[in-house]
Symmetry: C2
Subunit: 384 residues, 2 copies
Amino acid sequence: MVSCPKCNEVSAVQKAGIVRGKQRYCCKSCDFHFTLPDLTTAPQTKRHQVTIVDIAEELGISKSTVSRALRGHTDIHAGTRQMVLDLAQQLEYQPNPLANALLKSKTNTVGIIVPEFRHYFFPATIIGAQEVLSAAGYNVMICQSDESYETEVANVKALMSSRVDGLLVSLSSQTNNFDHFRAVQRRDVPLVFFNRVCPELDTPQVVVEDYAGAFAAVEHLIEQGYRRIAHLTGPSTLQVSHLRLQGYLDALQKHGLVPENELIIHYDLTPEKARIYANYLLSLPQPPDAIFALNDPTAIEIMLVAKARGVKIPQELGVVGFSNDPMSAIIEPPLTTVAQPVHEIGRQAAQLLLEQMNDAPPRRAVLTTQLLVRGSSQLERQKK
Amino acid sequence: MVSCPKCNEVSAVQKAGIVRGKQRYCCKSCDFHFTLPDLTTAPQTKRHQVTIVDIAEELGISKSTVSRALRGHTDIHAGTRQMVLDLAQQLEYQPNPLANALLKSKTNTVGIIVPEFRHYFFPATIIGAQEVLSAAGYNVMICQSDESYETEVANVKALMSSRVDGLLVSLSSQTNNFDHFRAVQRRDVPLVFFNRVCPELDTPQVVVEDYAGAFAAVEHLIEQGYRRIAHLTGPSTLQVSHLRLQGYLDALQKHGLVPENELIIHYDLTPEKARIYANYLLSLPQPPDAIFALNDPTAIEIMLVAKARGVKIPQELGVVGFSNDPMSAIIEPPLTTVAQPVHEIGRQAAQLLLEQMNDAPPRRAVLTTQLLVRGSSQLERQKK
DNA sequence: CTGTTAGCGCTTTCAC
DNA sequence: GTGAAAGCGCTAACAG
């Protein structure tokens, strides 16, 4: 009645005891022990996940053999492998990644820490990073620091405790102590910064041409005829702030304009503060005739404040942002902005992380920016 | 020279062999075995994570005792606990959650699947969900289905294989087969739908007053004097589409207006298609004088198309959206929209998931909506 | 109060 | 080719 799965012999098969309530058989011809796959009840067993032991017992072989078959080892009997593969499929076997993770100390998970994802920029970079990472077999855990140093430290701690295999980070605007990242490095966990990079640590990083982009933006404003150009930027701890400020300053200088301290404002990148400083700038005795903002959300807050005050854009105030947030194309007038390849930033960051995991030499990726001139700064054309 | 950590006795301490290269001691007075904490070299050992065994050996006690001390068990000698706690801190011991996860079949991770996070809505819900989940000690894995059924199935599979403890899902616009979620239920993994909920499965879910919101929106348009009102909505498989359509239809009927098939369009919610159908509607022989859109991104695409065609909003075309995306306040004229509590949706979804994990009876949360009347639909005021 | 033992699911020597 | 056994880090009976 029962045929041996190994040699197909029928007559030599004898019963060989009952294990875990299952009738076991032994083929005296080829000395193969096995049980009959119990397909009717197995899928109904809720809760209990199918393991290689289940498969092994079902087939009357050892779990090592099942493991080998599943992992595609070469030195294994083709018939055995097929049996295992078939049964695994029927039982909807799913390997438990936890066991493997414990064994290999590798979770196939990477952590991403961003300051926020209210706006367009960070979600977009995350999309790019996820693209690359999931193609490489990694899951992603995302945390927001909410622009808070403490939360960022907590995020790092949580992700490290989750034993992520790598970390992708864009710094919070508050962070100026980097010990939590030194701890990451001490544990040899690959670390890549993007956009808001860490000046003190020697890690791979992805940035854009911040200086060149800012320079082009401000030069454009000057060419349009604006002369009293303010700059609303992030905390000076952030390298992006520093570089874009430098671009701003050098553009002014090139055209013989003298920067004024009261027109250069560092702030914490919260929308509330953006509004406060925009109002402050516009109520100066000598208000600026243009503002270059660190990013589009800031620029848009400025435009809203200006509109609310009845200040005409671009006639009375030119505005330029940075990033090409979709909002910048929608606001009226559309916002001139320095476009950066947001998805590519994420992709590159993930790429650098993968490289670092494979012990490739650390790289620094610098992506290009492009000035998109739109209505918020086209003074000359408006004048015509 | 060496004092016993247990009884502080010095003279009774004798050397007791070398284990793993470390001198072990034995206190003959209290029969306590121990080694001296080797603080100088321990922190330098890269790569190797400190485990309870390290602590146990360092202290000459068993790993169970260390485990108990760390877990705050009551029946443990206060001195022993302190010793363990102190050393754990000095060694920067971090428990390995993988071991625990394997043991308990609990990963403390929940998966979230959303159709996209290009726009405001889903990132905002995720922020809310993360708030609640991380407070409850859960990590979050986020996947995007990209509005694709296949990707959604793959996402579910990936998250299940990662052994998440629960799943928060908003369906892709393509999904009309729910077998992949039945598989989740079969494995007893808690499952909560939000926003785009599953009509066929009996799970907790979070929705808003879609019908009432849509009804109010359309009634508002009618009261403003619009008479030929189109509706651009999602696939009919989505319950939101269905409910908002019903609100639209009933509002028309209440005011004696007859719905026309050519003015009701279901589409796949991609921006490209939104533009195509907006153009189609506006080039009808008898174009609509108002459009109620399923959501704000759709409404905004419509406005952009209308503007490009020189159609005046709200004079020639009234537009109403749904969600109160920040973009809706920025576009010119500002978009009338049905606001929904986006963060709260995420929070509630997480809440329902936690409840389900604690075997509480499944609930359905219905959150309120509120019509925000803005410039894109205020025909009468404009006329004055 | 503490140590011993077993085991979560899997891979990987090391034998045969 | 295959099986037995060890072990990843931890917790939880079960004994003392």
